[in-house]
């Protein structure tokens, strides 16, 4: 994708969790089909940004704006944001006891398809697609028939998130430490999926600490979050510098 039209536009976003302000003023833009990496020390608010944009009720936006494809994201409820094309992968995807994975994902896919004006997939067609995607991601087919994340390992949970990403085909995917817990084959599958979706126009905001993955994803932008703001923005060299010197050192350099 070569268009530079912004898909996600965040301006001066401030977010409180409980009584604590975690994000003071975050501004960023991600054009259609582009991939931005968000880095930052532990507790700097990376996950808060994703959860606030997704509309988690515990994350209260106190100031600022966020638009997705020109729509006021903050005016939409959680599911409306998802149907508008926002996907958030969870750092710790929860179990949903007793709900079969294939039913859960098919319900989600059809809710999104309906919002797009597409016909819902029947169980047969869905299963065909889900099996194909699960195979490409290295997720055993049997896991489609098990309750969501019930008894899944950390890596399997992350692959299950990727399966949902692959089938939902969002406009914007926020991947919050999707690499943690995944083995090398999983990371390879992740990189391939991201490249494929990106070529179809999906934008990405990827939170990660690992340079090797970041390099593999070939980001357009790298941002560093510090003290509730985007403190620095650059290209892959910023990620390499952070990897080499650490967050504290980079922050000192910027301040100097």
């Amino acid at each position: 994708m070569t268009t530079t039209e912004n898909l996600l536009s965040v301006k001066n976003l401030a977010v409180e969790v409980g009584e604590r302000e975690v994000l003071a003023s975050v501004s960023l833009e991600i054009p259609r089909g582009r991939l931005a990496v968000l880095m930052g020390a532990n507790g700097s608010g990376k996950s808060t940004l994703g959860l606030a944009l997704a509309g988690h009720p515990r994350y209260r936006v106190t100031r600022g704006k966020a638009q997705l494809g020109g729509r006021d994201l903050l005016a939409l409820n959680v599911e409306e944001r998802a149907r508008a094309g926002l996907f958030l992968s969870f750092q710790a995807p929860p179990d949903i006891a007793g709900v079969k994975n294939n039913l859960f994902i098919r319900t989600a896919v059809n809710a999104v398809r309906e919002a797009r004006g597409e016909t819902p997939l029947d169980a047969f067609d869905f299963l065909g697609e889900a099996r194909g995607a699960a195979g490409r991601l290295g997720l055993p087919e049997a896991m489609l028939n098990r309750p969501v994340n019930d008894g899944f390992s950390g890596g399997e949970r992350k692959r299950n998130e990727l399966l949902q990403l692959a089938l939902l085909q969002p406009r914007l995917a926020i991947l919050d430490e999707i690499d943690s817990g995944m083995d090398v084959d999983g990371l390879r599958a992740l990189v391939e999926l991201v490249a494929q979706l990106r070529s179809q126009g999906t934008s990405f905001l990827v939170v990660s600490h690992y340079l090797q993955l970041i390099e593999s994803l070939e980001p357009d932008t790298v941002m560093r979050l510090d003290q509730g703001c985007i403190a620095e923005q650059g290209d892959l060299s910023l990620a390499r510098e952070i990897a080499r010197t650490g967050f504290a050192r980079v922050a000192e350099t910027v301040e100097a």
């Binding site: 998802a82 949903i96 007793g98």
Partner: protein, 404 residues
């Protein structure tokens, strides 16, 4: 006077002499049952011009191969000989806290269904479906199921309002499982909001027998579901899973287990969803008698308020009189899991649908733990009934079945 009438009158006299369940009775402390007059009705159960009861037990027809392994007898308890046959081998009412229900039942008993299941030639599971159509306005039906040693059976037992007039039902169910026999007992009790129900299930297991119960119950004016499990023989196993749904109505769910032999296993699992002014009580009471080496006991009770200000009382109780046992119990009370709800909504699923899906999943998990797997749920249609009932419960109004 014939023997049947004498037996009924004797039961009535016994009840009159000993009185009804006192309000202080521990098992009924939170939801005292209506008194004896309601369960007896105000009429003679054996009037001279008695007509056969309306409604009654319906047994779905069986495939020929299965039919050869099942004896089904509809018996008239007003006839002395049939009454004796109907009650053969069943324990007397006794003197415990719940005995008045049994005496009231004996006083009003007019008919029952007695099933006997033999092992299938190739050891396969026999599937039975019985449906209770409400008969008289006040009734005391009986269902007896005997499993011969080694027999394997799935019994779907359904009680639904189905637009019938409000009625009072004091049901007794007796299950007797021979050695190594197994029963998956799928029970649906969705009464009308004005109905008054008391269901008593008594289960006795021989060595190595297995009893698994999944109960889907809805609220009504008064609704008692009580199961008593006697594990007095080695390696007997019993598990129950109850999903209770009530809005502005009540359910009293009681499961009592007695471990009286080595290597016995029991599990009690409950999910109670209440809304409005509902009252739901879940009593799990397990006793492990001396000498019950390696008894394994689990109780898991969960209550979820789904709107309004329901009263959910969860009472796990273990009484352990032996050292060498494993026992765990717990009760949790709270909203539907927030993280799962957010996850589902973040995937585009509407909040109401997400809640229904999660609640349905919790219910299915309770049943799956009771039944060991989820296949019986699907094949019996219980999974679909669960989904319907939960959707109806969570939908606006959350009303129980109205009478037509």
């Amino acid at each position: 006077m014939n023997d049947a009438r004498a037996d009924a009158l004797a039961a009535r006299s016994h009840l009159a002499a000993h009185g009804w369940i006192p309000r202080s009775a521990e098992a009924f402390r939170h939801l005292p049952p209506p008194d004896a007059a309601l369960w007896l009705g105000d009429r003679d159960p054996f009037p001279p011009d008695a007509t056969p009861a309306r409604g009654g037990w319906e047994l779905d027809s069986l495939p020929a191969a299965a039919a050869a392994t099942v004896d089904a007898r509809w018996l008239d308890a007003t006839d002395p000989a049939q009454r004796r046959e109907l009650l053969a081998g069943l324990p007397l009412a006794g003197d415990d806290a719940v005995a008045p229900f049994a005496w009231a039942h004996r006083a009003l008993l007019r008919e029952g269904l007695r099933l006997r299941v033999r092992p299938a030639p190739r050891g396969e599971e026999i599937y039975l479906s019985v449906r209770r159509r409400p008969g008289d306005i006040v009734e005391a039906p009986l269902l007896v199921l005997e499993l011969e040693p080694g027999a394997r059976c799935v019994l779907l037992e359904t009680h639904e309002a189905d637009g019938a007039d409000p009625h009072v039902q004091n049901l007794q169910v007796h299950v007797m499982a021979g050695g190594r026999a197994s029963l998956r007992h799928l029970r649906v009790a969705l009464p009308g909001v004005q109905d008054q129900l008391a269901h008593h299930v008594h289960v006795r297991l021989q060595e190595g027998a297995i009893y698994e119960q999944a109960l889907l119950a809805g609220g009504s004016g008064y609704h008692l579901q009580r199961t008593v499990l006697d594990l007095d023989h080695p390696q007997a196993l019993a598990r129950t899973g109850g999903v209770l749904l009530a809005a502005d109505a009540c359910i009293d769910y009681q499961v009592r287990v007695h471990h009286g032999a080595r290597d016995t296993t029991s599990g009690i699992d409950v999910l109670a969803l209440g809304s409005g002014s509902a009252k739901l009580v879940a009593n799990a009471h397990t006793t492990i008698a001396p000498g019950s080496d390696d008894a394994n006991v689990r109780q898991r009770l969960a209550g979820v308020p789904t709107g309004g200000q329901p009263r959910l009382v969860l009472r796990p109780h273990l009484e352990i009189h032996h050292d060498q046992v494993q026992a765990a119990h717990g009760a949790t009370w709270g909203a539907l899991p927030e993280d799962a709800l957010f996850h589902a909504r973040q995937r585009g699923i509407a909040e109401a649908d997400a809640k229904a899906m999660i609640a349905m999943g919790m219910g299915a998990a309770v049943f799956a733990r009771a039944l060991g797997d989820a296949e019986a749920l699907e094949s019996s249609g219980l999974a679909a009934r669960l989904a319907e009932a939960i959707a109806a419960h969570l939908a606006g109004g959350n009303k129980e079945h109205a009478h037509g």
